[in-house]
Amino acid sequence: METSDLRLDGNAIGGLLNELFGAELTAAPCVCGGCGAREEIARLDVYVHAPGVVVRCRHCEDVMIQIVRGPRRTWIDLTGTARLELG
C-alpha cells in the first residue's frame, strides 16, 4: 500500500457525519479556515487511518476537521473550518 491509497474523500464519511449531525453532509459546502476555498465535503481529502478521521482542504492541505471517537464520547475539532453551509 502506498500513501496515496490512504487518501480518500468526503464521500467516505457520509455515514459517520449523518450519525453525528443527523443530516446528509457530503454535499454541504465547507470553507477552509486556512485558504478560504469553498468545497463540498465530498471534495475534501479524508484520511481514515489516523487515530480518528482527518479532513484536509484539497487546495492548501490544512486540517479542516478532526473527529475522534471514544467509547462514550466523540471529539469534533472544527478549528480549521471557517464555515459550514447546510441546505
Binding site: 464521500n11 455515514g15 446528509e24 457530503t26
Partner: protein, 246 residues
Amino acid sequence: MARAAVLGRLAWLAAEVAGAKWETPRVRTLELNVPGWADHLAGQHLDVRLTAEDGYQAQRSYSIASAPGTTLALTVERLDDGEVSPYLVDEAREGDGFEVRGPIGGYFVWEPGDPTPVLPVGGGSGVVPLMAMARSRARVGGTAPMRLLYSSRSLEDVIYRDELEALPGDGFEVVQTLTREQPAGWSGYSRRIDPELLAEVAWPVADEPKVFVCGSTRFVDAAADGLVGLGYDPRWIRTERFGATG
C-alpha cells in the same frame, strides 16, 4: 435532492440476503431485503455492519449497484485481508442477515431525468455506482447521452460483463480498457487511462458534460487530472475514491 432524503439520522436496519450472483472470481453481487429501507439515488452507498458472536463489530461502506426502485443490490470485491468483504463475497448465503444503514451521499449522485451528457469513468469495482446510474437511465428511459469508460485488469475481471454487452443503445455507450491482459481479437483499449485515451473518449468540452469518476485514489486522480487537462471545468467532475480496506 429531496429535503426528506437530506434530513434525519439514519438508523441501522436488518438486511437479509435474498440472492447472490458471482460477477468475477473475486466479485459477487448480493440482493438484499431490508424492511424500512428508503429508496436511494443512483451513485449512493450504504454502510454494512457485521457483529460477531463475541460482540465485535466491523463496518465498511459499499456502493449500491441496483437502479432506484428495484431490489437493493450491492456488488462487493473481495479484499483478501479485509474484515468484511471476504464474508460478503464468500460466506453470505441466502437468508443470512447483517445490518445496513443508508442510503448515504448527496454529492456523488445522478438523476436520470438530467439531459446533460454524462461520462461515468470507473476503475475496477469503481464501476458499481456507475452501473446504478446506467441501470437507472435504462429503467426510466433517460435521454442523457451516457458514455461509460471502464478500466479493468483483464476480461476475467470485468464486472457486469454480459449486461455491459446488452445495455448499449439509445444513447448509452461502453468503452472498455484492459490494462494487464487482453484476449485475442480485443477491440477495446489496452492501457491505463491517460490523457490521449481521455481525449478520444470524453465528450467535447463544449458539451459541458457531467463526469463521475470512481475507483482507487490513483485511478481517480489520473482520470480527473486528465480531464481537467483537456479543458474540463473541475466543477463538472465528481469523484469518489475507494479505500484499501475491505
